[in-house]
């Protein structure tokens, strides 16, 4: 039962699925944060994402999945320099992971047995050019969060410890999930996520029944279920690939840029990251839908996920920031 539940078989939760697909179209958007109730399929969706992503071309023996042999870090002892196609890495960062596991550390085995100083790459190296997934991200220890912030911003992992001095590329898309009841996320880390979505249990009975039926079919009638939905997954994958090609050609009218700015000013979001993410996400959506030009509808569709976590929090606002964004979008875009 170790194959993940297929992405296309997830019922409902459109906002979450859209956000994940868009980061696959443009990894530059900078990750997704999924916050929500228990038992709503957060982790399932992230794990399903792996099967959806197009494979990457990488140097076979490179520990950081470099695309060219020239880009491989000098400390890596390369065996074969052949380019091979491998699935986009989706690396799980477990809560209990130590700093050593995350950034990499001295290779203890070689140090002990051969008395050699060698670097053993950590999770960040493996996640390069892929995804780094943190379940229960709000419970992550502070010093690991600091590390991640640093690396996520610079795109490079620098290890200066235990007599090692090593750096390697670490560009990855952060995907976090968590339950807000168990603790809040630090604003610095919150800001690093491009998109944030809130998921809720579906209220519609038909939808709930469908969830249970599919999950049950997945467990009992595995082969037939997978056969049907892997084809669906493949369709999404093709669309993602086409969207990636189309992405650079999307035209962005100046009026839309002004809309972006107006929206962010009206919401009072901190910094300019909001505008940039909003624009990028809207373009990715336009590409995914096969359009050539960005329109207000695209902005409207992505604004809640791109902006809702960048607002100053009003603790007495019961409605939540998603509603505030929607209200402002209606006011500004008419």
């Amino acid at each position: 039962m170790n194959t993940p539940f297929p992405f296309s078989a997830i019922v409902g939760q459109e906002a979450m699925k859209q956000a994940m697909v868009l980061t696959a179209v443009d990894p530059g958007i900078g990750g997704v944060l999924v916050f929500g109730d228990r038992g709503t399929g957060k982790s399932t969706a992230v794990r399903a994402l792996a099967a959806l992503l197009p494979p990457i071309r990488a140097v076979e023996s490179c520990p950081v999945n470099s695309a060219k042999s020239a880009e491989c870090p000098e400390w890596a002892e390369l065996g074969s320099k052949k380019l091979v196609s491998r699935p986009t890495p989706v690396i799980d960062l477990p809560l209990g992971a130590t700093e050593d596991r995350v950034v990499g550390a001295l290779d203890i085995e070689r140090a002990l047995t051969r008395g050699e100083k060698a670097f053993e790459p950590g999770l960040l190296a493996r996640a390069n050019r892929g995804y780094l997934y943190i379940d229960e991200v709000n419970l992550l220890e502070d010093h690991i969060v600091d590390l991640l912030l640093d690396v996520a911003q610079s795109g490079e992992n620098v290890v200066e410890r235990e007599g090692l001095s090593i750096r390697h590329a670490a560009r990855f898309v952060l995907v976090g999930s968590g339950n807000p009841e168990e603790g809040e996320l630090r604003p610095q880390l919150l800001d690093r996520f491009g998109l944030s979505v809130e998921v809720r249990s579906p209220n519609d009975v038909t939808e709930r029944v469908e969830v249970i039926k599919r999950r049950d079919a997945f467990e009992t009638d595995h082969a037939a279920f997978m056969a049907h939905y892997s084809a669906e997954d493949a369709k999404i994958r093709d669309t993602i690939l086409k969207a990636r090609k189309r992405l650079p050609k999307i035209a962005t009218p100046d009026a839309i840029l002004e809309d972006c700015a107006a929206l962010c000013i009206a919401l009072g979001s901190d910094g300019l990251r909001g505008e940039l993410t909003l624009l990028r996400t809207a373009r990715a959506l336009a590409a995914y839908q096969g359009r050539r030009k960005l329109s207000r509808d695209h902005l409207r569709a992505v604004a809640p996920s791109a902006l809702s976590h960048r607002l100053r929090r009003d603790p007495l606002d019961e409605a939540g920031s998603g509603t505030r964004v929607l209200r402002t979008v209606d006011e500004v875009l008419g």
Partner: protein, 550 residues
């Protein structure tokens, strides 16, 4: 059958099913204090070969890690296996003390669905002390038998199952019935009906059936749903509630709706009969929120002195921190051959300052603001609404500082704990808005309640701070008599007790003119006094935050 015996019979059924397919069902929570009865119950689970884990277990024990001594002996990396490496049955003692991070790790392991089984022993005394929700969510059974164990109580093991539970076929309507039923009882999570389906399958398998029958569903619903119910189903299912004949469930459902109607009702009745009697009291309005309490975890403070251990960090010994010997040795170990080459004549281990690892602990300590609000007639006339506004503004600040708040109001001849310590702003706001006014001023009684709460929460590791909002016209004494002098004396008495306990206090005078008696009272508290004649809520807040920071 008496209710007690009935609860024991249900416990027996849970255990029987659990014994048949531990990995498939993933476990149970057992809410009982340590007792011979519980030992007996656990001894029945003995065949599962359980491993005990405790709430402060380290990651290394759970997930495995480097076995240092063996590694050094054999000069090659030898890893310890963690408890979670292989599918097994674990017993978590004192699971109500289990923190959110351990719960998350265990929950993640259970989600992998490789056959772990978790028995959580919940020894909580208060209704609030329960399992972390992340764990409770994933455990199908909740075993909480009442009264003594009946003499003839026993569990008949089903033996080896001839039918694999996963192979038991379930019709589409079976799944639908369970989902609808869960919805009727206000159970949001979709994991729950899935678990119920699994339980039903195991039940069918123990009866050597290959397809689900009505009784299987009934048993599953009765075992999995009652303790998670957040509301009672409407007696007469209207279109609003999801009744079995919901028109939205598609043609398939419509076609056999008539045949399933009574069945759905029967199931509802069966589960309803098992709902705990105090359910109504603990019910939260559907869809508006959830239970308060939870794991009771305060805000965590990291340090190197006390609390639960965290992974150690490199650092220097400065006389205040403690060394983590094992981690230090581990850091030094790989370097021994290299360092030995440089200093062949030095005996013993070669440890450098950079190897030093320091212990770190996380401590749970948090401030609790106890608002004790005078809602008597004299206060209500002019200032109660102002006080409410001020408390609301203070709450926003308390939220920012991650403080807990509790709300006590006193009026007439009694005081009420309107809100036990919580961080939920929404709840506090709601309770505050509905705070009624009028009646006498039993200041001492209000203080007495506040004191009880303060000492109780302090023993839980919170730091209580008292904020009294009153107009100081105490006229009801502790014994309930209307005697102004006695009432004031009693209040002073209480103030002395507060001082003896060293509880920080702030007295806010909300009468029209500053009251000298209240100022004297604040002196008895050894606390601060804030006269606020004609203040607006904003000024009150500013004053309080300034006083608290000072």
């Amino acid at each position: 059958m008496t209710p007690d015996a009935d609860s024991w019979a249900r416990a027996a059924l849970c255990l029987r099913l659990l014994l048949s397919a531990p990995g498939y069902l993933a476990g149970a929570s057992i809410r009982m204090r340590a007792s011979p009865d519980r030992d007996r119950l656990l001894s029945i689970l003995q065949p599962l070969n359980m491993r005990r884990i405790h709430p402060s277990i380290s990651d290394e024990q759970l997930f495995g890690g480097l076995d240092l001594s063996a590694t050094l002996n054999y000069s090659q990396v030898i890893e310890n296996k963690g408890i979670l490496s292989d599918p097994r049955t674990m017993v978590v003692g004192m699971a109500e003390r289990c923190g959110g991070d351990l719960a998350a790790k265990l929950a993640h392991q259970m989600d992998r669905d490789i056959g772990h089984c978790l028995i959580a022993l919940d020894e909580g005394a208060e209704p609030d002390e329960t399992l972390p929700p992340a764990l409770a969510e994933r455990l199908p059974f909740h075993i909480a038998p009442e009264g003594r164990m009946p003499k003839d109580w026993r569990v008949v093991p089903a033996g080896t199952l001839s039918v694999t539970p996963a192979a038991v076929s379930a019709s589409a309507t079976d799944a639908e019935t369970l989902v609808l039923l869960a919805a009727q009882f206000g159970i949001d999570s979709l994991r729950v009906p899935l678990m119920a389906l699994r339980v039903a399958r195991v039940h069918a398998a123990t009866h050597k059936r290959t397809s689900l029958e009505q009784t299987d569903l009934e048993v599953a619903a009765c075992l999995v749903f009652p303790h998670r119910a957040t509301r009672l189903p409407q007696a007469e299912p209207e279109n609003e509630a999801p009744p079995p004949s919901n028109p939205e469930t598609g043609q398939e459902a419509e076609s056999d709706a008539s045949s399933r109607m009574p069945e759905g009702d029967m199931l509802v009745e069966a589960v309803r009969a098992l709902l705990p009697p105090d359910l109504l009291a603990g019910l939260v309005p559907a869809g508006t929120g959830r239970r308060t309490g939870g794991d009771g975890a305060g805000q965590k403070r990291k340090g190197n002195r006390r609390g639960r251990p965290l992974p150690s960090r490199p650092g220097r010994l400065d006389g205040r921190s403690r060394i983590d010997l094992i981690a230090t040795l581990r850091a030094a170990a790989p370097w021994q051959p290299i360092r030995r080459e440089a200093q062949p004549n030095t005996p013993g281990l070669l440890i450098r300052p950079s190897d030093i690892r320091l212990k770190r602990y996380v401590e749970q300590s948090d401030r609790l603001l106890i608002f004790t609000v005078d809602a008597s007639g004299s206060a209500a006339v002019s200032r109660l609404n102002e006080a409410k506004g001020a408390v609301e503004l203070l709450l926003a600040q308390a939220y920012a500082a991650r403080d807990h708040v509790a709300l006590i109001s006193f009026r007439g001849s009694t005081a009420d704990l309107l809100l036990p310590p919580t961080r939920s702003l929404v709840q506090t706001k709601r309770r505050l808005a509905s705070l009624p006014g009028g009646g006498g001023t039993p200041l001492a009684t209000g203080l007495q309640h506040a004191l009880a709460l303060a000492t109780q929460t302090r023993s839980k590791g919170l730091t209580p701070t008292l904020i009294v909002l009153t107009d100081g016209r105490a006229n009801i004494a502790l014994d309930g008599s209307t005697n102004r002098t006695q009432a004031m004396e009693d209040a002073e008495q209480m103030a002395h007790v507060f001082r003896a306990h060293g509880i920080q206090t702030l007295v806010i005078d909300m009468s029209a003119r500053p009251q000298a008696t209240l100022k004297a009272l604040a002196g008895q508290f050894d606390g601060q006094y804030l006269p606020l004649p004609r203040a607006d809520a904003q000024a009150l807040t500013g004053a309080v935050s300034a006083a608290l920071q000072g």
